[in-house]
């Protein structure tokens, strides 16, 4: 017979976390190799081929300049898709019954699903940074802050992905937000350029894009310079994380799309 802590089922959270990581290992090619390959191609095209003809940006070689942006591009898409698939698939296959009938609540579920998605993103970030060393010379000015910020962004977008996975009721919806909103915003968010390179009114318009602040936040931890106030970057990321957490709490409290 199981005796569960009435406040938190740590073994339950751990079981979900391990299962989700194992699931990623089962699909290691899709989970790890494919993003690394894609990022390598970006480095080859933008870093080595085009980058060698570009001027330094803010005193940083163009190839090195795009490292934080490319890292963020992968972090956002992978965190979102890992977490959204993680919760959508049990809903799609019906295995969600086990989660709903188990002694796990919102905290255990988030620790399990979002923790695993964020962990996968962190592993991926490490692999991408390692891969980048083969193509460009870069350094990290504030490594501890960089790790902290990567963890923060991975957690925030894993939470966001979790919401998407609960909201979506078909595969098309699952992909529509990342493809139609997240990817364009990321590409227009200064991944491959500094917004100071843009003419007006595009420069002012770019400041409306929240991804600009995320890219610059991470870029600051690498090179100590940013197009925007990094406190706004940090505040926005924290705010986004908080909003996602509140939305998920609401979902669990009301059972929206989970319980009938």
């Amino acid at each position: 017979m199981s005796m569960v802590n009435p406040g938190f089922n740590a073994r339950g959270a751990w079981a979900i976390y391990v299962r989700e990581l194992m699931r990623a290992m089962r699909t290691a090619f899709q989970s790890l190799v494919a993003p690394v390959l894609t990022t390598s191609l970006y480095f080859i095209v933008f870093g080595s081929a085009i980058g060698s003809r570009m001027q330094a940006v803010g005193g940083v070689d163009y190839g090195a300049f795009i490292v934080p942006g490319l890292l963020l591009l992968t972090l956002l898409s992978e965190s979102t898709s890992n977490a959204s698939f993680g919760i959508y698939m049990p809903r799609f296959t019906g295995t969600i019954y086990e989660l709903l009938s188990a002694p796990v609540g919102v905290v255990e579920t988030l620790v399990g699903f979002v923790g695993a998605a964020a962990t996968k993103s962190l592993i991926l970030a490490g692999i991408i940074l390692l891969t980048a060393t083969f193509f460009v010379d870069y350094h990290i000015a504030h490594p501890i802050l960089a790790i902290g910020y990567i963890m923060l962004v991975a957690s925030a977008f894993s939470l966001f992905g979790f919401i998407l996975g609960i909201w979506a009721d078909n595969f098309e919806k699952l992909g529509i937000i990342p493809v139609l909103i997240l990817t364009p915003l990321t590409f227009l968010g200064g991944t491959f350029y500094s917004i100071s390179m843009l003419p007006e009114p595009w420069r002012s318009l770019a400041l409306v894009n929240p991804i600009v602040y995320l890219v610059n936040g991470l870029r600051w931890t690498f090179y100590g310079s940013s197009d925007v106030n990094i406190w706004i970057s940090f505040g926005l990321t924290m705010g986004f994380l908080l909003i996602c957490t509140l939305v998920i709490s609401f979902i669990f409290r009301t059972g929206w799309r989970l319980r009938t």
Partner: protein, 311 residues
């Protein structure tokens, strides 16, 4: 009734579209009993299970499990409840052993390979322990779901249509499993379409229709109260009317007086005795007959009668 393990009171569920799946259901389940919930499709059986197990949010009413209100102490209560769903829903790419081990952890139990082995062996799954679930037959997949539900040694087990789509041999095997659980003191609530299953397994039976619990009773008492014997006696020569000597029996004539029909008894054997007395009386009266067809009503007849409002 011994100590209650589950107390449902005034449970109502109205879905968003206005469909009332459960209407003020009251039900108390005693510790250690096997309770069969019978009902046609859409009667509310799965909704009732879902409300207890956390998949369905009740509109009103209270559910107490192990003496605690589920709305407040759900974590501790759910850790002691197991569920085998109707659908074969499981991660098809996972291996049997990993799937069952995951379930044990999810319900807050420490990893125990010996216990997992014991469960898998008891369900004849040990040989398939490292097989992906998608490679198994339908019956074996259902066993995996049972193994997952038993992984945390629940005290209260819900089996939603446990033998749906399962062949006769496997069904009998599962009944033996349920018997073993009863011996271990596990309380079992099962829903089924197979009346034979309820007749074979259950201590008590509940009949549900249109979200209302029509009747809950001890199975044997229900059979005694609502059971009937039906006999059709084919006469050698037609009768114009019921002879006064047998008028006291619950009989009537059919098929132009060539068949004498008896319908009576109470499910405890009274009907059989009366039919025997009736045939003796017919012989004594010189009324010849050439055939007797006798039928004891089953739980199925009672169930059909209840859901069709004929009893």
């Amino acid at each position: 009734m011994s100590e209650p393990i589950l107390e449902i009171s005034g449970l109502t569920k109205v879905y968003a579209g206005g469909f009332k799946a459960l209407e003020s259901v009251d039900l108390t389940i005693a510790k250690g009993e096997i309770f069969a919930l019978l009902g046609p499709n859409g009667a509310g059986k799965t909704t009732l299970i879902g409300a207890v197990c956390g998949m369905v949010r009740p509109t009103s009413g209270t559910i107490r499990a192990f003496g605690n209100d589920l709305a407040h102490n759900w974590r501790s209560a759910r850790a002691r409840i197991g569920l085998v769903p109707q659908e074969l829903s499981t991660d098809m790419f996972e291996t049997v052993r990993r799937a069952v081990t995951f379930s044990r952890g999810l319900f807050g139990c420490p990893n125990d390979p010996a216990r997992i082995e014991e469960i898998l062996r008891s369900l004849s799954l040990w040989d398939k322990r490292d097989a992906q679930i998608r490679m198994l037959s339908g019956g074996m997949k259902r066993r995996v779901l049972i193994a997952k539900a038993l992984a945390h040694d629940p005290e209260l087990l819900f089996l939603d249509e446990p033998t749906a789509g399962v062949d006769v041999e496997l069904r009998r095997d599962m009944w033996r499993q349920i018997d073993k659980l009863r011996d271990q003191g596990v309380t079992v609530i099962l829903t089924t379409h197979y009346i034979e299953e309820a007749e074979e397994m259950a201590d008590r039976v509940g009949v549900i229709r249109d979200g209302k619990l029509l009747m809950v009773d001890d199975k044997d008492a229900m059979m005694a109260r609502l059971g009937r014997t039906e006999a059709h006696i084919t006469l050698a020569a037609p009768l114009a009317e019921i002879p006064p000597a047998i008028a006291a029996f619950p009989v009537h004539l059919a098929k132009d007086g060539t068949e004498l029909c008896y319908r009576g008894g109470d499910g405890t054997g009274l009907g059989k005795r009366e039919v025997a007395d009736l045939t003796k009386m017919l012989t004594a009266q010189g009324i010849d007959y050439i055939g007797i067809d006798i039928h004891e009503s089953s739980l199925e007849d009672i169930f059909v009668g209840l859901v069709e409002d004929r009893v």
